[in-house]
Amino acid sequence: MQIFICPFCGPRDEREFHFEREAGKIRPDTTKLVSDIGWSDYLNEQRNTKGAVREVWSHLPCHELFVMERNSLTMDVIYSTSRRGPVT
């Protein structure tokens, strides 16, 4: 069982986390024309990289989303970063 790092709560058991999506995907602007293929890619196409991956996860107890970089082959967790910018 893996240990993931919540940027807010620190290292926690993987069962407390929920995978949301691969990072870097942008929702098409649906007020404009979006092709079937374009939408289907957004919904279904995953890079599913072997090796270093960037993903969006949520930590269920504190409910914060964050980006985690990890290695899908070695299962090493490389780093977690908050998605929050500085509060102004």
Binding site: E20, R21, P28, S40, R84
Partner: protein, 932 residues
């Protein structure tokens, strides 16, 4: 009797005899015995029948590597299958049954199957899929398959405890090197845990002579004392069964027979693997006969249990370790002849009773053949952790190569078979100092299965795989080890190939004429030995898995004789009153239609969305346009997922410019909150939107029925209740007893309704006030069952019951936002993909049965008539309507909207009835009652 108990030695307590039975016959063993050692002590050698050919089988070895002696064991009225006789400690009153044998292992009526072996080769099972017809063989194969029988009783209390722990150093294996390494680690001040799967630590030490000048038992005791006095922990009868991601070690701590093992999830800083090595079998003709055993195993039976496995023993060994073993057995009273199997062809002679061994044509009398084909390091856990293996040509074995992070192997697990060398090395590892470099004196002549040689030679005893099966697999081009494994099922039995994998891949290497390391190994996966699923489940079930949510008003409901039932995780009144529920439910429906009912709707979602971007966010989250909703108003709508599928429905109340409350379905609140939270943070500025779930902080009491207003009027809410001042689909804020309340005019029954929400602290007072007010006009409390009928009469859906994983909002008649909504919303584009545009989508319909017919069954299929029946949809909700005095039903039906008025066929459990498709609303379709 061939095997027997000698009059001294062993770790058993001879003052504590234990009585047990095997295949109905009674025997006596001692405390400390395993089932296998006790049976051998009684001269019983045949302990089971083989999986495929029903060949008689006895134990091959004395511990986890035995593939043969699998039993059903009953104790205190509970029977457990898959018990390995060699690892099941004997308890008084145990009743063991051999498996795959009837009436007993000694006399098995299916023994004749062995004569059919030509037709039961590898892939037999797969070939029946192709020809002549799998169904001819299926009943027979299903009956033959498996070892043992599972008890039909459910043991509710068979629940494992689970413990989380950590330490600096975990030592796996309590043999000589494990103890030595652990002691050193403790002495450097580390927090150390040593685990060993036997009750008595010491591993194979008891079968050797003096250790560093001490008797084995004394040496072991000294190490354990040093470890424990230094603060280390020694966990006995505890199996390290797997190493998982991020170095999580799974330990199963075993107690008495029939008790669930305890799971330890251990996170050590480092792991010292001292798991030892196994003596591997030699492949020769009839090498599966009872009495052909592992040499180490035989010595283990002698050392630990005082059992001599034979009187006239022939040893077949290719290595230098065998000589001292033979002398030990001789000293215990056996006649031993040592034979060299490396040059020539061997064959075991005899059937149930072994008569001898033939080697290169020469017959040697023996009642027992003990084999030692070289040591195979136990590298399972090493591989679980991702460690690499190297082929060691001198040892003819795979040994640990490149180490996984934080793990190191010592002793015979690392291929160090000289005890003193291994101890010195383990001490260096334990103390984390430089390891000594020494040359091994262990010598071995390669000896592997020889394809093409005579006789039936077993590779996998537990799954009945012979060398001919490996040859057949190679002929049929299953040459990769992973294919070989699956085609022949080699190594796939419950012993996971501990004895068979090396022989199997060596046989394949020989067939293909390639070196063993080129053929490679199959993947090692946890668990190292079988574990009950209860171990992994632990306490995580029922309410400990999903805690029941309780109503603030539960004491009031109990006092009112409510039948409390779980709905969507909440314990809620199903109806009020004892006795026949049907009558109560009917009465409650009528009460709402004629007077008014008072309903505890507290589980209804109350998710507040606040902040400057709240309007845009709610508008994006909902299928329906919310941006145009004015403060004080309420709108019904759907939440979709990004695939356009209806995830939930509910009403949105706008309390202010920047404040909304989403009342989603009671059972979906957690899911909806998580969904909104993810979208809030993932695609929006989380500083400008706040999602605040107040569901469990506020109670909601719904007053519903034609006289609802009369009830509410009698309590002071400071809200103008008249229809023109407070119309349907609006929301007002007021007070009750000084506390803020929120009243929404929304209806789930089709009647005039007020949903009154209040902080939990005031809920009891509000409930009692409304009940008191209602009582004066004959109104009273109603439960969830009545609400289910009331909403179905009105055609109001429950998402997840009247919709499924394919339902889009236009299937439910809500077509406008799909075509007209300008702003983006979750799932919008999916509604216009090909799937959303299909003309044969399933739509919500009502279903009417013929006059006098019974109600339809929920889940019944709506089928197309004709020669090729197919499902057009199904019944989602069905009730006897007290209001309409006839059955009503809702369903999802292909092209439902176009079929209104059509007769359709409904199929359920082989019976068909007809029904008529109608609009889904059965009661007050004009909505006169709603607007009252």
């Amino acid at each position: 009797m061939t095997s027997y108990r000698i009059d001294h030695g062993g770790l058993i307590d001879r003052t504590r005899p234990l009585v047990f039975t095997f295949d109905g016959r009674s025997y006596t063993g001692f405390d400390g015995d395993t089932l296998a050692s006790a049976l051998l002590a009684n001269g019983v050698r045949i302990m089971g029948r083989s999986f495929k050919y029903h060949r008689p089988r006895g134990p091959w070895s004395a511990w986890v590597d035995d593939p043969n002696a699998i039993m059903n064991v009953k104790l205190n009225g509970r029977e457990f299958p898959n018990c390995a006789a060699t690892t099941t400690y004997l308890e008084d009153g145990m009743a063991a049954r051999s498996v795959n044998a009837f009436p007993s292992a000694q006399f098995d009526v299916k023994g004749g199957l062995d004569l059919m072996h030509r037709w039961l080769t590898a892939g037999f099972y797969y070939k029946t899929f192709m020809w002549p017809n799998w169904h001819l063989f299926e009943p027979v194969i299903r009956k033959m398959a498996g070892l043992g029988e599972i008890s039909r009783d459910v043991f509710e209390d068979y629940v494992s405890d689970q413990v989380h722990d950590c330490c600096d150093t975990l030592v796996i294996g309590g043999g000589g090197t494990g103890l030595a390494a652990a002691r050193e680690a403790v002495e450097t001040g580390e927090n150390v845990i040593l685990v060993d799967d036997q009750k008595t630590v010491g591993g194979g030490l008891f079968r050797t002579g003096l250790i560093e000048g001490q008797a084995a038992a004394d040496w072991v005791e000294a190490q354990v004392a040093a470890i424990e006095s230094g603060g280390g922990r020694v966990m006995r009868a505890t199996t390290a069964f797997g190493i998982h991601d991020h170095k999580l070690v799974g330990l199963a701590e075993h107690g008495k027979f029939g008790c669930p093992p305890r799971l330890w999830r251990l996170r050590p800083g480092r792991i010292i693997l001292a798991s030892g090595a196994l003596d591997r079998p030699i492949t020769f003709a009839n090498n599966d006969r009872p009495g052909v055993m592992s040499l180490d195993g035989a010595c283990e039976f002698l050392a630990r249990y005082g059992v001599l496995v034979g009187r006239n023993i022939a040893t077949l060994s290719n290595n230098s370790g065998a000589e001292s073993s033979a002398r030990t057995l001789e000293q215990a009273g056996a006649n031993v002849v040592t034979l060299d199997p490396t040059a020539g062809h061997a064959c075991a002679i005899g059937g149930k009773r072994l008569r001898g061994v033939e080697l290169n044509g020469a017959f040697h009398y023996a009642d027992t053949i003990l084999c030692s084909g070289g040591q195979t390091p136990l590298v399972h856990l090493w591989r679980h952790a991702g460690g690499k293996l190297d082929w060691n040509d001198d040892l003819q074995a795979f040994v640990p190569g490149k180490a996984p992070e934080g793990m190191i192997a010592v002793g015979s697990a690392n291929g160090f078979f000289d005890l003193q060398h291994a101890l010195d090395d383990a001490r260096a590892v334990g103390a984390d100092t430089a390891r000594p470099n020494k040359k091994s004196s262990y010598k071995l002549t390669p000896l592997w299965p020889k394809p093409g040689s005579k006789g039936r030679q077993w590779i996998d005893f537990q799954h009945d795989v012979t060398i001919k099966d490996v040859e057949l697999a190679a002929r049929e081009n299953y040459v990769s080890v992973e294919h070989l494994k699956r085609y022949t099922t080699l190594g796939m039995a419950s012993d996971q190939g501990k004895t068979s994998n090396m022989s199997g891949l060596a046989a394949m290497a020989a067939v293909l004429d390639r070196p063993i390391p080129e053929v490679g190994t199959t993947t090692f996966r946890p668990p190292f030995v079988p574990q009950p699923l209860a171990l992994y489940a632990g306490q995580r079930k029922a309410t400990l898995f999903s805690p029941l949510k309780r109503l603030k008003l539960e004491p009031e409901h109990r006092a009112a004789d409510a039948a409390l039932v779980e709905y969507g995780g909440w314990l809620r009144p199903g109806w009020f009153g004892s006795g026949d529920p049907t009558e109560h439910i009917f009465n409650e429906v009528q009460l709402v239609r004629e007077t008014a009912g008072i309903f505890d709707a507290s589980p209804l979602g109350k998710i507040e969305i606040l902040g400057p971007d709240a309007e845009a966010f709610v508008n994006f989250a909902f299928y329906n346009t919310i941006a145009t909703l004015k403060p004080g108003h309420v709108r019904y709508g759907f939440l979709l997922n990004e695939r356009g599928i209806v995830m939930d429905d509910g009403v949105v109340a706008r309390l202010g410019d920047n404040r909304f409350v989403i009342s989603c379905s009671s059972g979906h609140v957690d899911h909806v909150r998580d969904h909104l939270e993810v979208w809030r943070q993932d695609c929006n500025d989380p500083e400008r939107i706040f999602v605040h779930d107040t569901t469990q902080h506020w109670s909601t009491v719904t007053v519903t029925g034609p006289r609802a207003r009369d009830i509410l009027e009698k309590i002071d809410t400071r809200i103008e209740l008249a229809a023109d001042a407070f119309p349907h689909m609006t929301v007002r804020e007021g007070t009750f007893d000084g506390a803020p309340i929120r009243v929404a005019r929304v209806s789930f029954t089709g009647e005039l309704s007020f949903e009154v929400s209040i902080r939990n602290t005031y809920a009891t007072a509000l409930w009692n006030a409304l009940l008191k007010s209602g009582a004066s006009i004959g109104a009273g409390p109603v439960g969830s069952e009545a609400m289910m009928i009331l909403r179905a009469e009105k055609g109001y859906i429950i998402v997840g019951k009247d919709t499924d994983g394919l339902t889009m909002p236009h299937d439910l008649g809500f077509t406008v936002p799909r075509l007209k909504k300008k702003a983006a919303f979750i799932g919008d584009r999916s509604l216009h993909m090909q799937v959303g545009n299909e003309t044969d989508r399933r739509a919500l319909v009502g279903l009417e049965v013929d006059t006098g017919s019974a109600m339809l069954s929920t889940g019944a299929h709506i089928v197309a008539d004709g020669s090729k029946p197919r499902t057009l949809g199904y019944v989602t909700s069905s009730y006897d309507s007290p209001t309409l005095k006839r059955p009503i039903a809702l369903g999802l039906l292909e092209q439902g909207a176009e079929r209104i008025g059509e007769k359709i066929t409904v199929w359920h459990l082989g019976k068909t009835v007809t029904a008529t498709v109608c609009p889904p609303c059965f009661y007050d379709p004009e909505g006169v009652h709603l607007d009252a």
